[in-house]
Structures are given as structure tokens and as C-alpha cells.
Symmetry: C2
């Protein structure tokens, strides 16, 4: 299996005999297990998956290529036992996931540990064809749900009603879980980039930011569209929208294997600066998307990452004017030799709703 | 504010000048912040809440009694700065939440750290009157949603359809988020205690386990009911059901401040052993419920906790027969001087559905 082989190469390089995988998303990535309690130990020769009684049947159905162990004892004692029986002298662990409390308990068990940083994340960061396919399906489900939502976007409805409707549509499209709660933010609420839907009723002149995601086999999608409700004075709303859209297009145009992630961010940010709104664009331009809806690479001014082929990430600049409203436009792209393969397909021309 | 005062007492006892609070549920518990990025530092005199640009407006609305700081720099550098400006010599941290990677970075910044275990969780474990009220509201929302679901439980419908319907009903009742994805497990699927809903159609003779939760102001509820679809031979299903119900009643009867949590588990387990099904009851009898749907206390044979007044937890024994089906009955109780205050109120007499 390719993933395990790649990981074993990295383990050899890091000079550990095995890795303890506790991050559930990494566990799913490698084993296929979708439950909420289980971990894995991978050595040069062996691959163990350990879970408890509750997930026995599920693990048998989902986990292939691993020895499945059902345990009910205290975890650090079990890990010590596996280190002994599989002759693991140095056990690597995921330093973002093993908390300090667990670390100390393992040390007390006299397990020789080595801190590993993002070993599996570095494999996950570029997607296989199968992963791209699942992500595309997650995008399709999200877009299909949004199309069905459109007739319901109108003056008088509430943010909450729209968000709830969209969540139901996403599930009906086949999404087993939603990567995050749908955001619907209208008028002044839209000035909060991560607003929760409120009971506020949509009204004429509102910019309405809708940020939602789909799912397929655990793979996620993430996108945002901003629409405008017809009103008497909407010229400023239009100005904001087209500023963001141009910034977003410039960022997407930069996408290419070999480019610095920070340069993609800069393309959007420089344009927004030219429009005079740079102080109202406080977040990064994008983030990787895969089994986690926020994963590597980071696409911001602080990022040191270099884009590689088959990385998948969002491009989502925004402008947020306190008290007035906000605009964000978010697409997902896969980096390909020719440039960005834009995975999202919903139109980006400003939609002015007359209802 | 009482919570902060209780915490400061514990900090003094632990001989730290301040605590770094990174667990988002603990951050919410203390500050009221409901966003997904932010942390807090509480010293003897000061209380800081730090978040980034995206949550500026939201923090201003939600966080009271804290100095709100908007930062965009690297987090460990910021923490070092606060240690200097607030004269923090020893900074306590939450050892279940600070991962080893962050710990090492803080050490490199020459911050003197001290590992703290469950300091805030020990305050959260007993509920205030306000918290009990919010939890009761979460229970009411969950029960009201379930009552509206009942007419839809019938042969021919799928697990997924029922789960989706119940999730929609929960949101309509006012739950902003769901504490977990609704479980609907029928027939053989019900032998998996944590099954995900499938496309399986309900049919006569099925035991159907439905496990769902509500929410109110971040506080959660968690309950399970098992119903039976009329069929030709249902005597074994009935036997399993009434075995679990009697075990559950015996466990609830044990609830009292001062009792060991393990004794509550034993009451259920001993009865199930008498019925001969003990090997099919592999999980603990219950868990605390509050801002997190799984929190302290643990109610299992391994628990060393002693029940105190106003602890809130589930009582949920079950029997799971591979290939045949399962039964789980779950109530939520608050421990009160007179015994268990059962917060859930849906009837527990076996409901046989004739549709």
C-alpha cells in the first residue's frame, strides 16, 4: 500500500522503529477507520490498529491491511506491551496530537519516544487521483445543494432558516457529515468573517455571505459565495464585491507548482490594498482542504510553504466593513502544471436577487 | 465572578501565577466566547482573552469581564510577551490540551511552565443552577424533536432518513449545533454501539436504537431510546429490552452524592450478568454531560470518581448481539441529595411500532 510505504520511508529517515498514530484523521487516512476512538502503530513490518469493543464490528468492516486489536485496558500500558512484543526501541509520536499529559505517562512507562512533526500531514498535503475524485464529489454535492437553496434566498427570510435549509440539502445530497456549520451572514453580520447565523431577516441592499462545505467518504469541500439583495443604494456593495472578485482572480492566476504560498496571498492582498480596503482583509487567503477542512498548506503572508502539484486549497479573500457588511468569494483549486485547476464551478458574476 | 474566583483558588494551591487556557470548551466556560480560535490567560488580578481579527466583533459581543486582545502574531511569542508584562513567573497549562509540539516551543521561549491536570474540568464537573437550567432546556429540545419524529418511524424507511429528519427537528427546536451526529441503528446494525446510519430499511422485528442529543447555549444533552417494529417472533427482542431496562433502573437507583461512580456501573453490570448477557455489554454505564457531551465523571468499572451533588451524567447500559441487534436505554441524571434527579422524561415502556 502506497501510503504505508511512503510513511515507512519517513520513519527510517527520522530514525524511529515505529510511529504511534493518535490523530484520528491520520488514523482514518491510513487505516480507513471512521469511528471516533482508535489508534495505530506502524513498524517497518507490522501495522496495528487498536480500538475498543464499541468499534469491533465497524473496524472489521472498514480497516484493511492492519492487524485489528480490540483492547479495553489502559492505553499507555497497552502501548508499552506493543513496544515490547514488536521490538520497538524508539517510538515516534505525533507532536501536534499527543498532549503533554499523555507524553508524561508514556515517559513514565519507560518508552523511548521521539517527537515527530507533521510526518503524515506531509504525505496528506498532495492528493492522489482517488482523493481528488472524492474531493470533487464533495464539491459537486456542495454545489448541487447550493443551487437548490437559491430560490429560498429572499428578503424576509432569516439567516438561520437559510443555513438550516442548506444543511438539510447537503445531507440529502449524500454528505454524511458537514465539515463545519453553514455560515449565512447578512448585512452588518457579514462584517464578521466567521459569523454564526442569527435570526436577522434579510432585507434589500444586504450583502449575504454564504460559506458552506460538502463531504464525500470523509473528504471535504469548502466554498463561499456572496449575493446581493436588490436595494435603493447598492453601489458600494457592488464596489466591494468586484474588488474582492478581482483580488481572488489574481490570486488564482498565481497558482502553479513551485510558487510560494505567500505569493498567492500577496497577489490578492496587493490588489485589495490598491482599492484602499486592505485593513479590512484580516485573514489569510486560503488553506488546504482534504480529510480535514483546514489542513496544510497555509496560504497567507506568513506561510513558508511552496505549492506542489496536486495540493488542494481554497482561495478566499474578503473585505469586512464593520457596521456595513462583508464580501468573501471562495473557490477550491488543485495545483496543476498548467496552473490552477479550479474545482468549484458556481458562477462568480454578482447575483442580485430581486425577491 | 464565581468561576474565576474558584479557579484562582486552585491556581494559588498549584503554586502558579497564571493559567494558559487553550481548551476551547474551557475558554467558553470561563469567557463566554463561542468562536473557534482564541485563548485566555488568567492571573491573580487580570483576565485576558486573546483572539484574532476574524473574531473581533464576536468577542466584543460575547466576552465580559476579560481584557480582549486582538493579535495576529505567532502565538508563543505573544504568550511570552504577556508573561513579561503581567509578571508571570510560572505559567500553568492544561496538560490534556497543550500538545507536545506547543509545549516544546514554549520551553524554547524560556517560559517557566507547570503542568496542570483537569483544573477547570474539576470546576465544570458540578453544575450551577444556571447550567442545570440550560442542560434541562437542551434535554427538552431533544425530547420535543423525538416526539415529532415518532410518526416517521416505520417499516420501509431508512436509518439515514430518520437520522436526517431528527437532526432537522433538533435544529428547528433551537439547537444551534448538535453535540454528535444522530445514531439510528436497526436490526443487525444495532449491534454496533456507535453505528453510523446506513441506507438499511427498517423491517418487522427490528430493534431500532436511536441515540441523539440537543443543545442550549452550548450545553448539551444525550439520550437513547430503543423501539421495536412489530414482527412474527419478537420474544428475544423483548427479553433483551427488559433486561437492559431493569439494569438501567438499578443503576439509576444507586445514584446519590457520596457513592462511587464504579458502583453505579456495577449495579447495571451485575444485573446484566445475571441475565447471561454480560459479555455483550462492553462499554461503561455513563459519562458526564455539560458543555462537552462527553466529560467528567466517567461512570464505568474503571472509574475512581465519587459522585457529588449536581454532577450530571448519563446512565446507558446496553446489550449488543452481533448479527442480531442491540438495545440501549440512556437517560440523563443530576445527582441530588435525595437520589437521582432524572432529567429525561420520555417513557421507557417498550414501544412496539405497528406501522
Amino acid at each position: 500500500m502506497q501510503k504505508k510505504a511512503l510513511l515507512r520511508k519517513k520513519l527510517a529517515k527520522a530514525r524511529v522503529d515505529a510511529i504511534l498514530i493518535t490523530d484520528l484523521i491520520n488514523v482514518r487516512y491510513l487505516t480507513g477507520f471512521t469511528g471516533s476512538s482508535g489508534y495505530s502503530i506502524i513498524t517497518e513490518r507490522d501495522a496495528l490498529f487498536i480500538t475498543d469493543f464499541r468499534y469491533k464490528e465497524q473496524a472489521r468492516g472498514e480497516v484493511k491491511g492492519f492487524k485489528i486489536i480490540i483492547e479495553n485496558a489502559e492505553r499507555t500500558g497497552e502501548i508499552k506491551k506493543y513496544c515490547e512484543s514488536y521490538r520497538i526501541r524508539t517510538l515516534g509520536f505525533e507532536d501536534h496530537n499527543v498532549n503533554y499529559g499523555l507524553y508524561r505517562k508514556l515517559v513514565k512507562r519507560k518508552i523511548r519516544l521521539k517527537q515527530l512533526t507533521n510526518v503524515i500531514e506531509q504525505i496528506r498535503i498532495t492528493k492522489t487521483e482517488q482523493e481528488l475524485y472524492d474531493i470533487r464529489t464533495a464539491v459537486k454535492r456542495a454545489e448541487s445543494a447550493f443551487r437548490k437553496l437559491q430560490p429560498f434566498i429572499m428578503a424576509g427570510t432569516t439567516e438561520k432558516k437559510l443555513a438550516l435549509k442548506l444543511e438539510g440539502l447537503l445531507k440529502s445530497e449524500g454528505c454524511k457529515t458537514l465539515p463545519f456549520e453553514v455560515i449565512v451572514a447578512s448585512g452588518p453580520t457579514a462584517a464578521l468573517p466567521h459569523a454564526q447565523p442569527t435570526e436577522r431577516k434579510l432585507r434589500g441592499g444586504d450583502l449575504v455571505v454564504i460559506d458552506w462545505g460538502g463531504e464525500c467518504k470523509g473528504y471535504t469541500s469548502d466554498m463561499t459565495r456572496t449575493v446581493l439583495l436588490k436595494g435603493r443604494s447598492i453601489s458600494k456593495q457592488k464596489e466591494l464585491y468586484y474588488n474582492v472578485l478581482e483580488a481572488q482572480k489574481r490570486a488564482i492566476f498565481k497558482v502553479q507548482p513551485g510558487v510560494n504560498a505567500a505569493d498567492i496571498d500577496r497577489a490578492a492582498r496587493t490588489y485589495i490594498k490598491q482599492t484602499g480596503y486592505d485593513e479590512y482583509f484580516g485573514h489569510g487567503t486560503g488553506h488546504g482542504v482534504g480529510l480535514a477542512v483546514h489542513e496544510k498548506p497555509v496560504v497567507s503572508w506568513r506561510s513558508r510553504e511552496v505549492i506542489k502539484e496536486n495540493m488542494v486549497f481554497t482561495v478566499e479573500p474578503g473585505i469586512y466593513l464593520p457596521g456595513f457588511g462583508g464580501v468573501r468569494i471562495e473557490d477550491m483549486v488543485a495545483a496543476k502544471k498548467g496552473g490552477a485547476d479550479v474545482m468549484t464551478s458556481l458562477p462568480k458574476k454578482l447575483k442580485i436577487i430581486e425577491r
